[in-house]
Amino acid sequence: MSTANIDPNKGDLFEFLCRMGDNTLVLGHRVSEWCGHAPVLEEDIALANTALDLIGQTTLWLDLAGKVEDAGRDADRLAFHRDVWDFRNLLLVEQPNGDFGQTIMRQFLFDAWHLSQLTALMESSDAQIAAIAEKSSKEVTYHLERATDTVIGLGDGTEESHRRMQNALDLLWPYVGEMFVADAVDEAMVAAGIAPNPASLRPAYDTLVNDVFTAATLTRPESDFGHRGGKSGKRHSEHLGHMLTQMQWLQRAYPDATW
C-alpha cells in the first residue's frame, strides 16, 4: 500500500469501516440462521462457529466506526438501529441461504475476497485497522480453507451435489463483481494508504477461484456482469430488509433493552 498519509475525510473513513463491519454482520447473521438446521451436526457447529467469528469481527469494525463518527453510536447501536439504506454491505452477503450448497458457495466467494482484503489491510496506515485485520485474517484463513474444501467436495461429489453447486455458482456469480469496483470512498482510502484499491485484488481472486472451480468440476459463468448498489447503500436487494426485521426486532420493539 502507498505510504501517503493524507488524512481522510472522517465521513469516508466511517463509510469504509461500515462496509467492513456490515459485510461481516450481515453474513454472520445469515450464516447463524442455519443454527439448528444444518444437514449434519458437524456442519451445524461449523456454521455457528463461522458466524461467531464474523459477529466478533463486526464488533471490532463497528465499534471503531462509531469512534470515528464520534456521535455516540457503538457497534450495537449501528447494528440494530440503522435501516436498510444505511447498510453498506456487499449484495452478495445479504443473499438468502438457499440450500446448503448455496450457503457454502456464497461463503467461498466472500472468503476468497475477504482474506485478500484483510491481508492488504494488515499493511494499513491506520494502526487500529491493521490490528483488526491481523486478528480477523487468522480466523478467515480457516474459513476459506473450509469453504474451499467443501466447494470441491460437493462440486466433485454426487450428481445432485454437483448440480446444486453449479446452480449456486450461476446464481451468485453476478454478485462477485461489486467487490472489485472502486468508488470515491475507496479512492479516499487508497490516497490515505488505509486500504487497497479493490480492483488490485481481482487477478489473485480470479486465479484462486478458477483453480477451485476446476478442482470442483464447476464451470465459471461466461459473463462477469456484476450487480451494484450494496456497498454504496443505494440499491440493496429486497432480501436485506426482510433479514433486518428478524435481526433487529428486539431493539425495535424494546429500544435500548439490555440484559
Partner: protein, 155 residues
C-alpha cells in the same frame, strides 16, 4: 485497603490461579492471553488479548480477572484489550499443553492436526470436523480406540 503495591510477580501469580472459563483445567496465563501487567501510578493495568474475536468467553475472562484481583485487594484496576500481535496458540505454555492433553484435549501442533490420541496415544487419527465445541477447537477421532476427542486448533 492495600498499603503497599503488590509486586508484579505476585500479581502474575494471582493471575496464574485464574482458570479459563471454558477449559478450567488450564489457567489464563497457561493460555498466553495475559500480555502485560504494569503499574501506572497506583492503577494496575492488565493487558489481555482475545483468542478469537467472537469468543463469548472473553467477557467472562475479563470479569474473572477483575474478580480475582479485587479479591486480592486491588482497588484501581484497568483492563486493556490488545489485538496486535494477534494471539497465537504458540503462546500456550508447555505446562498448559500437558494439562490439556491429560484433560483429554489434544494440544495444538504446527502440522495442523493432533499428534496422538489423548486417551490411548495412538497416531491413527481422522478429522471429523474443522470446528468443535468452542471456536478454539476442532473434532477428531482415534481410529484405534474409536473415541472422538477435541483438538485445540493451531493458529
Amino acid at each position: 485497603m492495600v498499603v503497599e503495591k503488590p509486586s508484579l510477580e505476585t500479581v502474575w501469580g494471582w493471575l496464574h490461579a485464574v482458570p479459563d472459563p471454558e477449559i478450567p483445567v488450564i489457567s489464563l496465563t497457561d493460555l498466553g492471553i495475559i500480555r502485560d501487567v504494569q503499574w501506572q501510578d497506583d492503577t494496575l493495568e492488565v493487558t489481555v488479548t482475545p483468542t478469537y474475536s467472537g469468543c463469548p468467553a472473553t467477557t467472562i475472562i475479563n470479569l474473572d480477572i477483575e474478580t480475582a484481583l479485587r479479591g486480592h485487594g486491588i482497588e484501581k484496576l484497568a483492563l486493556k484489550r490488545q489485538l496486535s500481535p494477534a494471539w497465537t496458540s504458540d503462546w500456550m505454555t508447555d505446562a498448559g499443553r500437558a494439562k490439556l492433553e491429560s484433560y483429554g484435549i489434544a494440544p495444538p501442533q504446527p502440522a495442523g492436526g493432533p499428534e496422538r490420541c489423548p486417551r490411548c496415544q495412538s497416531t491413527h487419527l481422522e478429522k471429523i470436523s474443522q470446528f468443535g465445541s468452542t471456536p478454539c477447537k476442532a473434532q477428531w477421532r482415534c481410529t484405534d480406540c474409536l473415541e472422538p476427542f477435541d483438538y485445540f486448533k493451531c493458529i
